[in-house]
């Protein structure tokens, strides 16, 4: 046994392997997030007779010559992949895609960091870890800045939190999962995305429009799933340091250890500190809160190729502290007084999750999985004179069976889900504590004629103590009438209970009075939200001057049957009430990506949003949501020499004018115009890869220094009734430059 461990460890270090003219690697499969080696896979150099097969653990060793660049890996039941091999000093860790997997992308000969799928039935965008290296991506919320499908906005001028939007709707309407377990929801809605460090993310899958019924009924506008790094495949040691001139310092370390041929474990540590007080606009308010975060995760991975069992155990602890407000605010003496306006937000979170999966060894198309997750999220906070405390204890369990009907063209997934959420919530002196639970069953059928047509139709039924008994249908269609041309259509329904305070926490950083219009519903006196989402898209791959490109056009419409309307139109008040009338979000996006010359990629995107709601004051567009957005991303990689190369990336965003909520009733000095000006945002980063072990990067965010001049209304007198920090349309802090390094073994 011991010898075997040593052998595997040796195999992990291509650097110290003796023979220099062989290439080592491992062929693996990913079954529902569980990665295991494939024994007996065929590995050969393209256009040569040199080939081999993998051993019983999935490892292979193959003769290497510098003229060999394309390595082909194939295995029965999986898509055959071709990998570019640039040097001997890399070890190949390759995951083969299940031939029948719908939600995945074919690996092209030249890998793209963000890719659309030609084969998937849903409109899904896959973001690889390489894409995440294009920007500092300190956490999950920042990792979408190079991606046009998701918009990153500022929520308020006090907490500096970035909020994401898709199809013109805020993140509560998205289902955000971590390895298919719902993660950012309920109490963590406002800040949850900043609680997943960027280096922990292996890849992100973004589904536009209605999602799959497998992960629940909550998704309305789309779904974002983040896969985290796995102990078996992640670097044995990884260190990342980051520092920025705004005073933000970050440290990330990963330690992974393969304990035996079945067990591996990893410890991931993230710490950040923001202690520098910045006030560039001179309004006496911090541009960004100061604070720190400690985030520790331990993962255990089990896989047994002989029996077909795989498993994961995850434990995570987080502590995050933020302090914002006036520069002279001292929490010890000024907390909840009118000496100075200040805010502290302290979050503690514990997560535990277990996943178990089984693939029938004799029947590769049949498998089942069980997952259960527990989390306890506790936020204690105050904003000026208002206190807000929320604690959420959650349990999520699901059991899933995958199999076929007749043959592999007809597949199904079925299972049951159980959720439990206990909230204790105190808004100033009002107790909004409650318990929600649900049990549901789902069945999803997918048909693929192995050619131009595929379909996924799912249905789920749920019994929820607050939402009642309801049915959620969702359908996706794909039709590919010609080569590289794909039409898709989807429609489906989503339903959720709005956590009005947790989701709109920025309201506390204003002196608006809260007006919750109780209409006898079960959640804060309000009814559950429900909406239909319809979408169509067209994707066409093309070859222009011998270079590959894609053009994508999509249109989505979300039609609310009920919504908890968040009404900011009275500057002294924020109101929450049930929708009476129509609320519609239309989104149109077109995107062109083109590999203009070797190693140079260009992405252009234009988006049009039309989001309108019937407010009590009449139909109006959603405030602070631009109609037009334009996006450009360019990336260039220099040819690899002695294992080292440069990477240059730049992203430019042009954001159209945005409507301010009505401020007419305020005194003139506290009014805002009807519309904000158009804003520009430019980010760029240069990365130098010195070797596969070491790289450094330097970059700038908001290089042109676009800022909003006067982001806080009544900043000079934060205790008068007009104080409001929520009217933010542009960055608060000017240009920010950062540098960092990544070291791996």
């Amino acid at each position: 046994m011991k010898n075997r461990i040593i052998l595997i460890i040796i195999a992990l270090f291509p650097m110290i392997s003796f023979s220099q003219d062989t290439l080592k690697g491992m062929a693996m499969t990913n079954e529902n997030g569980q990665i295991s080696g494939i024994p007996g896979a065929t590995v050969y150099w393209l256009d040569t007779e040199i080939g081999t097969t993998t051993n019983d653990k999935g490892w292979f060793t193959i003769k290497y010559k510098p003229e060999f660049t394309k390595l082909v890996i194939s295995f029965i039941g999986y898509k055959t992949d071709t990998i570019n091999v640039t040097s001997l000093n890399q070890e190949i860790h390759h995951i083969l895609k299940d031939e029948s997997e719908l939600d995945e992308i074919v690996i092209e000969s030249r890998s793209k960091t963000t890719s659309f799928s030609y084969l998937s039935t849903t409109n899904i965008i896959k973001v690889s870890s390489e894409e995440l290296l294009k920007a500092a991506c300190c956490n999950l919320s920042e990792s979408f800045e190079t991606n046009p499908s998701i918009d990153v906005n500022f929520s308020d001028a006090v907490t500096g939190t970035k909020q994401i939007q898709m199809l013109g709707l805020n993140s509560p309407y998205l289902l955000i999962t971590q390895e298919n377990i719902p993660s950012v929801r309920g109490a963590s809605q406002a800040y949850g995305l900043t609680f997943t460090p960027g280096t922990w993310i292996e890849s992100i899958q973004i589904t536009k429009g209605t999602g799959s019924v497998v992960n629940g009924y909550e998704s309305i506008a789309g779904q974002i799933n983040a896969e985290l790094v796995k102990p078996l495949t992640d670097e044995k040691l990884f260190v990342n340091l980051y520092g920025a001139n705004n005073g933000r310092l970050e440290l990330n370390t990963h330690f992974n250890q393969i304990l035996s041929d079945k067990w591996s474990t990893g410890i991931y540590l993230h710490a950040n500190n923001r202690s520098k007080e910045n006030d560039h606009n001179g309004d006496n308010f911090l541009d960004m809160p100061i604070g720190n975060q400690i985030n520790v995760m331990n993962r255990w991975q089990y896989q047994n190729a002989e029996t077909g069992w795989v498993g994961f155990l995850n434990l995570r602890y987080l502590n995050d502290e933020k302090q914002g407000g006036e520069l002279n605010f001292n929490p010890d003496t000024d907390k909840l007084t009118t000496n100075a306006w200040g805010s502290e937000i302290n979050t503690n979170r514990f997560d535990a999750a277990v996943k178990i999966g089984y693939v029938f060894p004799e029947i590769p198309y049949q498998s089942f999985g069980f997952q259960t997750a527990y989390s306890k999220h506790k936020q204690e906070s105050y904003y000026g004179l208002r206190t807000y405390d929320i604690e959420q204890e959650s349990v999520y369990s699901s059991f899933l069976l995958n199999s076929i009907i007749g043959d592999t063209r007809n597949k199904f997934k079925t299972g049951i889900t159980f959720t439990y959420d206990r909230y204790s919530e105190m808004v100033e002196l009002v107790d909004y504590g409650r318990t929600e639970n649900s049990i549901g069953g789902f069945f999803e059928y997918s048909y693929d004629n192995l050619d131009e047509f595929s379909l996924t139709a799912g249905i789920r039924v749920d019994q929820h103590n607050k939402l009642g008994f309801f049915i959620t249908p969702r359908i996706h269609l794909r039709y590919s009438p010609w080569e590289k041309g794909v039409f898709r259509a989807s429609f489906g329904r989503g339903k959720r209970s709005a956590n009005v305070f947790a989701e709109n926490q920025q309201l506390f950083a204003s002196n608006r009075t809260i007006n919750l219009i109780d209409s006898g519903g079960k959640i804060y006196g309000l009814d559950p939200e429900s909406a239909w989402n319809y979408g169509v898209s067209f994707l066409q791959g093309f070859n222009l001057f011998g270079r590959k490109g894609d053009i994508l056009i999509d249109f989505y419409r979300t039609d609310f049957t009920n919504q908890v309307v968040v009404d900011w139109e009275n500057p002294q008040e924020i109101s929450f009430y049930n929708l009476d009338g129509k609320s519609v979000a239309n989104s149109f996006q077109t995107e062109i990506s083109y590999n203009a010359f070797n190693n140079f990629d260009l992405k252009l995107s234009y988006k049009f949003y039309d989001v309108t709601t019937d407010y009590s004051s009449g139909n109006n567009s959603k405030p602070l949501t631009p109609n037009h957005r334009f996006f450009v991303n360019i990336g260039y990689k220099t040819p690899v020499k002695n294992n080292s190369y440069w990477m240059f990336d730049a992203t430019y965003n042009l954001v159209g004018k945005q409507r301010f909520p009505n401020t007419e009733s305020n005194p003139t000095e506290y009014q805002r115009p009807e519309y904000s000006p158009t804003t520009n945002l430019l980010n760029a980063q240069i990365t130098r890869i010195f070797s596969p072990k070491f790289e450094m990067y330097i970059g700038g965010e908001n290089i042109t220094g676009t800022t909003q001049e006067n982001p806080i209304i009544s900043a000079g007198n934060p205790f008068n009734p007009y104080f409001d920090s929520t009217m933010v349309y542009a960055p608060i802090n000017g240009a920010n430059f950062y540098t960092g390094l990544r070291f791996k073994l």
Binding site: I76, E99, I363, P364, T408, F418
Partner: protein, 118 residues
């Protein structure tokens, strides 16, 4: 809840226990060259009632199947594959079916086979 899992567990165990001849694994060589052949071969195989899973390897020319032996026989699959133009050792394709193949799939033509090797 617990009972439900127990029930599902029992269902799965019985499924796999009776799965012996219902899920027979077989593989044999089928002539062909390219990705288009792969699609055609697998489709023909899956179109045979009783074939649950089919995968043809472009490199080794091996067709791997999982079939329900009570519903079909290997011979039937081979006949169906031959009917769309792909020969096996046991069942040769007809001239007509072979001629219907796309030009790039003419595996009997050495020049075309060579082209694919480039």
């Amino acid at each position: 809840m617990k009972k439900l899992f127990l029930f599902l567990g029992i269902v799965l165990i019985t499924l796999s226990a009776t799965a012996q001849n219902k899920n027979a694994k077989v593989s044999f060589e089928v002539d062909g060259i390219c990705g288009m052949c792969k699609k055609r071969i697998e489709k023909a195989a899956l179109n045979t009632k009783g074939v649950k899973y089919a995968s043809w390897d472009v490199k080794t020319h091996m067709l791997s199947l999982i079939i329900d032996e009570r519903k079909t026989a290997v011979k039937t699959v081979q006949e169906n594959v031959a009917a769309v133009g792909h020969s096996t050792k046991e069942v040769a394709t007809t001239e007509e079916a072979y001629n219907n193949l796309d030009p790039c799939c003419k595996y009997k033509d050495e020049e075309i086979v060579k082209d694919h090797e480039k």
